[in-house]
Amino acid sequence: MINSKHSKPLSDVQLRVKALESILLEKGVVDQNTLDTIVDIYENRVGPHLGAKVVARAWTNPEFKNRLLSNGAATIAELGMGSILDVQLVVKENTPTVHNMIVCTLCSCYPWSVLGLPPNWYKSFPYRSRAVSDPRGVLMDFGLALPTDTEVCVWDSTANMRYMVLPLRPEGSENLSEDELAALVTRNAMIGTAVVSVS
């Protein structure tokens, strides 16, 4: 799958991946259609637009929100979403007094089923190292200054639970439709490094 438009020499890593892919295909360890399916799922089908839909539904449907908060995995399944790997989605609700934030300090665990694959910053050493010890400093890196009396709760994904934040519904969004609300919800707001606003 090395792109032929690159005229520069392949790097060592590119060559190694290409060699691995060739030999695994040749030996029938992996199937080309399966590889294409996997890429299609994670590059085109899942992503933050799914999480945004879940958030907008929760903002407009209190009964859905209650179920989402008590059993995230079963509730997103109602919307045709779900994890390919056996992990459990858990949704944490922000309130006027509590701000939640998600991290995986040990590796890169992330709620793929609703947010797709993580951005580089989520997997980066600065985030993984400081999110637990200095979450407010990390939020300042994102330009978000929380009031000192807000309770910051960080969720370090050390086992099979995959966390997503249900952000606060912004003021001024009372008359928006579910689709319009979903359009306001950003990936970072669902990780907890941003808040949602009506722009």
Partner: protein, 220 residues
């Protein structure tokens, strides 16, 4: 293992930089690497805990100096060798050098991929087992420093916290990562105050929650 991957609470890595309009994959090889990695899981060659164990064995200087998907490449190459899927010569040259003796299973076809991935990655166990703790219990996490893979970060060891949730029973990564026996244990969400973890200068209301296996915890 007290490795470099366990970086919660470390300083001096700099600011978090959010890339605008970031693509899912930055280069084509990352896309290939990701797909190969995921495709190996439903065939049942390895579990995620084994992958994590191998990534954690990357020497510290290399760990810091390699890109994210390079670590996956390293892990898959190691798994292919460990599980006798490929020989070193095959990995290096990308060409088959033998026809016998390799531990190869039929590839999972695309139409069965999602079902097989779910089954093969299963680690939540439907089992009746009396939990040792319940929400509201005060615990102290163990002061443990095993040489093997574990999922309790250093910053959360030997700390006092409160159980907030019993998430059910899962297979312990500490043995599962090493092809060891399957040990089912309850996994609890435990809340530690920021002051318990980081000292009295931490904001008084802030907290960190972790999901911890029962054997990582003891009664206070």
């Amino acid at each position: 293992m007290n490795g470099f991957h366990d970086m919660g609470g470390m300083d001096n890595f700099g600011s978090v930089v959010d890339e605008a309009n970031e693509p899912v994959f930055h280069e084509d090889w990352e896309r290939s690497m990701f797909a190969l990695f995921i495709a190996l899981i439903p065939a049942g060659y390895c579990n995620m805990d084994e992958i994590r164990r191998i990534v954690e064995l990357i020497p510290p200087a290399t760990y810091l100096d390699t890109r994210y998907y390079e670590k996956w490449l390293y892990a898959i190459e190691m798994i292919a060798l460990e599980k006798d899927i490929l020989t070193l010569d095959e990995i290096e040259n990308g060409q088959s050098s033998r026809t016998e003796g390799s531990n190869i299973r039929p590839a999972v076809p695309a139409e069965l991929f999602e079902l097989a991935a779910k089954q093969r990655s299963k680690s939540k166990i439907d089992l009746e087992s009396k939990p040792g703790f319940k929400p509201g219990d005060i615990i102290v996490s163990r002061n443990m420093h095993p040489s093997h893979h574990t999922r309790i970060p250093r910053y959360a060891r030997n700390k006092r916290g409160v159980v907030v949730e019993d998430n059910g029973i899962f297979l312990l990564p500490d043995t599962r990562a090493h092809d060891g026996p399957d040990i089912p244990e309850h996994v609890y969400t435990v809340r530690f105050t920021a002051q318990e973890l980081w000292g009295v200068d931490a904001p008084i209301k802030d907290s960190v929650c972790l999901d911890l296996f029962e054997s990582y915890l003891q009664t206070k």
